[in-house]
């Protein structure tokens, strides 16, 4: 069983763990829709211009070819891993050691898009993405790339609306920090994930799901010095 964890860790040669947050299917589909709209928009305008000036449409074919096969790669390599769509959604493509994506990997992942498209409308790619713990589609698997969030701006720290609860056993510093973090970051978890984490501590607090989460939030508030 996988835990619903989107944190991706890589150890650098300097001996520290880099963490990045993996992007799932929904933001990637959004980015893709934006990109494909831009692509077709550009081609359409190009075509209208050539048509109205009565020029030969040869260059339109060439532009279409280039956009179809090289639009993502050109942006990903020359524009810090971001196509315009990914930029708007806040995603970035990187190699799976979190180094910038290279020409070869980018071309491989985007050429193999053809296979991800199968059988229709990227269903294959979507299924691989969902089955894979790192949300890789087939192109990503072959190229060794991942898609992560770039500079997620944190929501302002609003603590959950629960009463502070005085703990009835002494916790180690590390555990206190963990609970404080869990409380501070409550808005970043899906409720499933929050419950999943809180349920791990069931042997200690004896609660489940919603109640367990609220209990931990209460403890966190208490450690932070909150009283109400």
């Amino acid at each position: 069983m996988y835990l619903i964890n989107t944190e991706y860790k890589v150890e650098t040669p300097e001996g520290v763990d880099l963490t990045a947050e993996l992007a799932g299917p929904i933001p990637r589909i959004l980015a893709f829709i934006i990109d494909i709209s831009i692509r077709f928009g550009v081609i359409y305008v190009f075509y209208l211009i050539f048509q109205s000036l009565n020029w030969t449409v040869g260059p339109v074919f060439i532009a279409y070819f280039l956009l179809e096969w090289f639009y993502p790669t050109l942006f990903e390599v020359l524009y810090r891993g971001q196509t315009p769509g990914k930029r708007i959604v806040g995603l970035v493509v990187v190699n799976d050691d979190l180094t910038p994506v290279s020409w070869n990997s980018s071309i491989i992942r985007n050429f193999l898009r053809t296979v991800d498209f199968l059988p229709v409308l990227y269903v294959g790619g979507l299924i691989t993405m969902i089955l894979n713990p790192h949300y890789k589609r087939l192109g990503d698997l072959s190229a060794g790339t991942i898609v992560v969030y770039k500079n997620r701006t944190k929501d302002s720290e609003q603590l959950p609306k629960v009463k502070a609860i005085a703990p009835n056993l002494t916790l180690e510093l590390e555990d206190q920090v963990a609970i404080v973090n869990f409380t501070q970051r409550h808005s970043e978890f899906s409720s499933d994930r929050a419950q999943e984490i809180a349920n791990i501590l069931e042997p200690i607090h004896g609660l489940q799901n919603k109640n367990a989460v609220n209990h931990l939030h209460g403890l966190g508030k208490w450690y932070l010095g909150g009283k109400d």
Binding site: L18, F65, T99, F111, T114, V115, G144, E174, R185
Partner: protein, 328 residues
């Protein structure tokens, strides 16, 4: 050390790194005078930053600080470990070494790909020559009529319908269509090679049927005069794309000692070199096809000579270019 004191002590260093990171472009241009000190100092600054991150984590400082440091490390890591090495001679090295070597190293796959393409081609060319009606099992009546009109000896330019388009349009179309087919032939190899095999077989049958049929009805001079110029580049380009597709397909079916994913990664890295080369060949083919092959002004004797020499040159290129004695 309390977090605040820690922050105060090293803030200036982090600020300096942020400064370097915010410079324009992804690469620190090592030749720009203004960047000299930054280039020199950056690795050492980065190592210190890494240590700060490790310390901050081990001392359980707040997630905000750790997040900020992690972000800085991540960006610096990008800057330091980018692997886009730019070489002035990259293109030359590719043409005179990497590409022909990659083709020879995958000779068996090229052979299999050739057989999958040429066997149905010749088989169907002969079949359609002796029994022209067989072409209707591949193409419908209207498509066959199109082919007839494309190579009608009364045409001003060959290979297109009744002089409907100009050379540049056809050039664009050939790039879009032919190189697209090449790329797809490669990509569809990922489903265990099945897609590649299908495209190779189908294109072989298709081209063979047209050749056999047109020979039978006597459009010999126009048809062969048209195709001979670009045939070597185009057919070989498709066969190479096929070999690249078979390579990734094979990695998936028979990964050897590697895991399937690792085998796939390794195979696509090598295969993509052949794909680049095949794309260049198909581009050359598109150029010849649009501007040379279609001309009716050039006598066929010159076209045959040109086509023949291209085939000989290509064969020599793939047999001999980039061979080295001993180790490199």
């Amino acid at each position: 050390m309390k977090q605040q004191a820690f922050e105060q002590k090293y803030e200036s260093l982090w600020f300096e790194i942020e400064n370097i990171l915010s410079r324009k472009g992804d690469q620190l241009d090592i030749f720009a005078a203004s960047n000299k000190t930054a280039v020199k100092e950056f690795p050492s600054l980065y190592r210190q930053l890494c240590q700060h991150l490790a310390v901050a984590k081990s001392r359980n400082y707040t997630p905000q600080l750790i997040g900020h440091l992690n972000e800085l490390v991540l960006q610096s890591h990008h800057l330091l470990y980018q692997n886009n090495r730019y070489s002035q001679h990259k293109v030359l090295i590719f043409i005179f070494r990497t590409f022909p070597q990659a083709v020879r190293a995958n000779g068996k796959l090229v052979l299999v790909s050739s057989l999958l393409f040429y066997l149905p081609l010749f088989f169907f060319a002969l079949s359609c020559y002796f029994n022209p009606e067989l072409i209707y099992s591949i193409s419908d009546v209207f498509t066959v009529m199109e082919y007839e009109s494309m190579y009608d000896p009364s045409n001003k330019s060959l290979g297109r319908e009744r002089d409907s388009s100009d050379d540049l349009t056809m050039f664009g179309y050939y790039i879009f269509n032919n190189i697209g087919i090449g790329f797809r032939t490669f990509a569809l190899g990922l489903i265990g090679g099945v897609g590649t095999v299908f495209i190779l077989l189908f294109n072989g049958l298709h081209i063979g049927s047209v050749a056999g049929y047109l020979t039978q009805i006597g459009f010999v001079d126009t048809f062969y005069g048209f195709v001979v110029g670009h045939a070597a580049f185009e057919l070989t380009g498709i066969v190479f794309s096929g070999a690249a597709g078979l390579k990734i397909g094979l990695a998936l079916v028979d990964p050897g000692n590697l895991s399937r994913i690792d085998a796939m990664k390794l195979a696509s890295k090598e295969a993509i070199i052949i794909v680049y080369g095949a794309a260049v060949m198909l581009l050359i083919a598109a150029f010849i096809e649009a501007f040379w092959s279609s001309s009716t002004a050039i006598p066929n004797s010159i076209k045959y000579t040109f086509g023949g020499s291209m085939a000989v040159l290509l064969t020599a290129y793939f047999l001999f270019v980039g061979k080295t004695r001993g180790s490199q």
